[in-house]
Symmetry: C2
Subunit: 226 residues, 2 copies
DNA sequence: GTATTATCGATAAGTGAATATCGATACAGC
DNA sequence: GCTGTATCGATATTCACTTATCGATAATAC
């Protein structure tokens, strides 16, 4: 996994940071001033050194014997991930998945605000999901321009994905969160993050195959004599 | 990324294999007998050697100048991932996300068959989504036992996730595909695959932060998450 | 005050995956 | 048949991430 990332923060670190957050918030609620890397690493089954490295890489420094100041930690991670000021997003595709995402209340904590949904189906246009209106796709471009929305969340059927993505970037969208299985080919300047359910399912089912086809799974088998 | 994997096939390889499939199926439809690693790698922006290594690791061998026999390739990957015989799954949580997954027709191609949905909400029980009945959660255990369903797809609210997962494995579920942001603590023998939207979003927004705070631009990233 | 211990930060070592290199192979064109 | 070229497979190298080690620090116990 070779990733060019920002200011020397590795891809894997970026993926771990948000996972630390619930634990940190819980600690804050519990009134703790400091959290140790050991405490975090125990919870997630990681090495404490790894946690310290993650935190160090975004410029947070702890104190020996005490740990890391929770408040500063939360603030630092939020700032690094851009969760401190909300980015607005449009959902393209108001099917079940689009509606599920629009209805999920947790994204606000993650710096994402879904503003509206778009669809071509006149049946769906005009409905309101969790306070967000489903708008006709023909209005997409003008609204992106007017509201300067940087993110499109793509939840259209696979065969419509490339066209929708093209339309989105033509309208000025900077980043696409792609929930379709379609591999998009887009200009390099566009940020694309793929939610790859097929890959995730592959890991699951491949493990299941191992578990069922061989009674003993996992690494080592005593190779020698029986 | 250190992962326990089967027979020396790396985690990253397992995640790439399913992505190759659409291209292979397209090649098959086009009547090609062979596909070269170059063709695959070009499409996905990978190194051809990497593709060959992936294929070699699941025991598929090609021929110089020709490439890899498409039919054998597809068969091999499907067999490896367990897509050749469907695994059945129950969806726990018939909210928008659960319904979206139940309504998605593509999982059949990936060896997954969603049999039914479960929910505790009497409002939802009895409804039918894409031919699958929403059943009361109280019937879950007996149905898992009777139908020997190995997989649970978890789409309940975050705060209900741990309880639902506990109930699932008590009923005999072997693998959990967890779409909730809750980190589940379960026996080691249970296979858990986490769809980590928070991590995916973190990568997206962290890139967006870089792009907006510094005008410069970055490389691409073919690595997919979740 | 001194000893103990948990924890940090830095550096070094280890691990595993991606990439580069190269000889071998088999088809295509002449 | 000979040559050229695309492709494979194997080995070696590079690179990134994780783990191990160790001295320093600061709270706590005595």
């Amino acid at each position: 996994m070779k990733e060019i990332t920002r200011e020397g923060v590795s891809y894997m670190t970026i993926r771990r940071l948000p996972q630390y957050m619930p634990l940190l918030r819980a600690a804050l609620d519990a009134g703790d001033h400091c959290v140790s890397s050991t405490k975090i690493s125990d919870f997630f089954g990681l090495d404490p050194v790894l946690v310290r490295k993650d935190l160090a890489s975004i410029g947070i420094t702890g104190q020996a014997r005490l740990g890391f100041p929770v408040r500063e930690l939360i603030g630092g991670i939020e700032r690094f991930l851009g969760w401190d000021n909300l980015s607005e997003a449009f959902v393209i595709g108001a099917g079940n998945l689009g509606r599920a995402l629009a209805g999920y209340g947790g994204f606000g904590q993650h710096g994402l605000k879904i503003v509206a949904l778009f669809d071509t189906d006149p049946e769906k246009v005009g409905k309101v999901i969790a306070g967000k209106r489903v708008t006709d796709m023909t209005k997409f471009a003008s609204l992106v321009e007017r509201l300067r929305v940087p993110i499109a969340i793509l939840t259209v059927p696979p065969e419509a994905a490339q066209d929708a993505a093209d339309a989105a970037i033509a309208a000025g969208i900077k980043a696409i969160w792609n929930f379709t299985p379609t591999k998009l080919t887009l200009p390099d300047a566009i940020i694309v993050e793929q939610v790859d359910l097929a890959a995730s399912l592959a890991v699951l089912s491949s493990r299941l195959v191992s578990a069922t086809r061989t009674p003993r799974q996992y690494e080592e088998q005593p190779v020698n004599d029986m």
